[in-house]
């Protein structure tokens, strides 16, 4: 069988539902509305439990989180991270009645870098068994809440975890063992994470300025993003327009454990493999949702990779100045915004960006604008020299 023919016969990974829990709202549409208005969730925070100095970060309101969680009427104790994931998945289930989370054909994938790491220092730690800091236990707690019969899969691969989890979801659907895959990514802000990034002198003194001449580091954030994938077109609510995961890949720079590659070679490899698998030429890409952490080296590296991949004319943004860097949630949250850009044919402007300040010319979106968006590429890079990319497409039935 010819390869192309084989690809056509392969089952697709359709998106059935999606949710974002962030400082900007507790649903994808609330979040997208805020981004259309270019409202950021990153604020100046004074909280000695997080940082000695004031900090610009995206923090989910704890009171709102607890109020929303109480509506679920559950008796058991859950951590902050677990509450976000449970609310996020619950919203997805409410969006699409075809998702059967209790089915043996449904698998949960959790993407997180640090999970319940805040339990190492929090007063809450006495409420929970020590086992709760193990990421597999966090995932099991979530699986048990929903009565899902399968052992969840956990990916913890630094800042590319979320993109990897979506790509894994698509690949596992092709194996046909599962018909529905719930991919959720979450991380919470903690003294643990903040102090670490501060030690790297990687945190911006203001709200992050991705790709800008004046960028001076990242803003951190927290939140959760969930995408539900299925190989069954019957379960898609909007029959006229389906969104699918078309391809994806990861790579390693094999260069440095904490610094981005100077050449972008690893990122180029991940992008090329993703576009090849998706049967896409660079000229056919409508939009790139970049990694854009707003550190000097990351954004320069990305510009090299994007330019070398002949994607330099494609409109591109970074959402890190809206949400902060949400680590294991970032790939999910940023992909979901891209899905809504396709649905609404609207590209989101990069908050806090004014003048291009990276090595190679790339096409950064300044203001939110209408545009035909039939597909997009999402990229990510992280500590350990890892890179990943995933490609989404809109399929319209006439």
């Amino acid at each position: 069988m010819e390869e192309e023919e084989f690809n056509n016969l392969k089952s697709q990974a359709y998106i059935l539902a999606d949710n974002i829990i962030s400082p900007l709202g507790f649903s994808s549409s609330e979040n997208f509305e805020q981004l259309k208005k270019m409202q950021t969730g990153v604020k100046r925070i004074i909280d000695p439990n997080l940082s000695v100095e004031p900090l610009f970060a995206g923090i989910v309101d704890t009171l709102k989180l607890d109020i929303e969680f109480q509506k679920l009427n559950t008796q058991n104790e859950f951590t902050r991270l677990e509450k976000m994931v449970i609310l996020s998945v619950t919203d997805c289930l409410n969006q699409n009645q075809h998702i059967d989370i209790q089915s043996p054909k449904t698998l949960i994938i959790l993407s997180t870098t640090k999970g319940n790491i805040d339990l190492l220092e929090s007063d809450d730690s006495s409420k929970f068994d020590k086992k709760r800091v193990y990421l597999w236990e966090t995932a099991n707690v979530i699986g048990r809440y929903f009565n899902n019969p399968n052992q969840p899969i956990v990916i913890s691969n630094a800042c590319i975890s979320g993109v990897l989890a979506i790509v894994l979801g698509k690949r596992l659907l092709e194996e046909n063992q599962y018909d529905t895959i719930i991919v959720s990514g979450a991380d919470v802000l903690s003294h643990f994470v903040v102090s670490g990034f501060q030690s790297f002198k990687a945190i911006s003194s203001e709200i992050a300025k991705p790709y800008d001449t004046k960028r001076d580091g990242i803003s951190l954030g927290e939140g959760c993003g969930t995408i539900v994938l299925s190989n069954s077109i019957q379960k898609v609510i909007n029959k006229q327009e389906q969104l699918i995961v078309k391809g994806g890949a990861s790579s390693n720079d094999a260069n440095h454990i904490s610094g981005p590659s100077r050449t972008g070679e690893g990122m180029i490899l991940a992008i090329n493999k993703t576009l090849t698998e998706s049967n896409m030429l660079p000229t056919e890409v409508d939009y790139i949702s970049g990694h854009g952490t707003a550190t000097l080296y990351n954004d320069d590296m990305e510009s090299l990779a994007i330019s070398d991949s002949k994607l330099d004319k494609v409109p591109m943004n970074s959402l890190k100045s809206y949400f902060g860097h949400t680590l294991g949630a970032a790939g999910l949250i940023e992909s979901i915004i891209g899905l809504h850009s396709m649905r609404e044919n609207t590209l989101i402007g990069t908050y806090n960006y004014s003048e291009l300040g990276v090595t190679m010319p790339i096409n950064i979106i300044k203001k939110t604008q209408p545009a035909k968006v039939n597909n997009f590429l999402k990229t990510a890079a992280g500590f350990g020299g890892c890179n990943a990319a995933v490609f989404f497409q809109k399929v319209q039935n006439n």
Partner: protein, 209 residues
């Protein structure tokens, strides 16, 4: 057509013992975990100064990968971008997480160390193996409560059979609270010297032996 892939070399490090392809090559059952890993590094006369900058989890992974690949290197005709590294464990980076937490909780000297913080991610060990061996392909770090031979073999076979990768360094590397356990192996389409069929049963046999 169902295609067969092969485990072409493997290394086990646990309980003060190191075995390569099923043969014990070093034993020292009296040493605590960290000392044992260091003594093995010296015993095999590995010369890689970066080893001393690594945390215990990365040292363990590096040691196992080094001994295994020295004995049975990955075929030269595999491009760097076609070799994957897919590893899992139970405790993530908790050993180093606790070290970082102790530093920042110290009221007298609460300045975090970037050299420690970078190791609070389990996938750093994949980066270390990738750097040492110039491997640039797929990488993923999974967390399971115990080595999941069914998932690992199923996923890696599907990546090989769909030509997404040509070769994979895979396995389990766990280090936490004085306990350590490493099982690394390579999976390729071609049958090497060892040539064990890559499937869940064989992995369980080797790992539980």
């Amino acid at each position: 057509m169902e295609q067969k892939n092969h485990i072409n070399t493997f290394c086990l490090v646990k309980n003060g013992s190191i075995s390569i392809d099923g043969t014990i090559s070093y034993e020292n059952r009296s040493l605590p975990a960290a000392d044992f890993i260091k003594s093995a590094y010296k015993h095999f006369q590995i010369n890689y100064p970066k080893f001393y900058k690594m945390d215990q989890l990365s040292r363990l992974a590096f040691l196992a990968s080094e001994l295994m690949l020295k004995n049975n290197p990955i075929a030269h005709n595999n491009a760097a971008g076609d070799i994957a590294i897919i590893i899992a464990n139970s405790a993530s980076s908790l050993e180093t997480d606790e070290e970082h937490q102790r530093t920042i909780s110290d009221k007298n000297n609460n300045v975090a160390s970037p050299a420690v913080f970078v190791y609070t991610l389990p996938n750093i060990l994949i980066g270390e193996i990738a750097i040492r061996n110039s491997i640039k392909g797929e990488n993923t770090f999974f967390i399971f409560d115990k080595f999941d031979a069914d998932f690992m073999s199923g996923y890696i076979n599907s990546l090989l059979n769909s030509n997404k990768i040509k070769c994979c360094i895979a396995g389990w590397v766990d280090f936490y609270d004085k306990n350590y356990d490493a099982f690394l192996y390579t999976v390729e389409k071609d049958k090497g010297k060892l040539g064990i069929e890559h499937n869940s049963e064989q992995l369980k046999n080797i790992y539980n032996n």
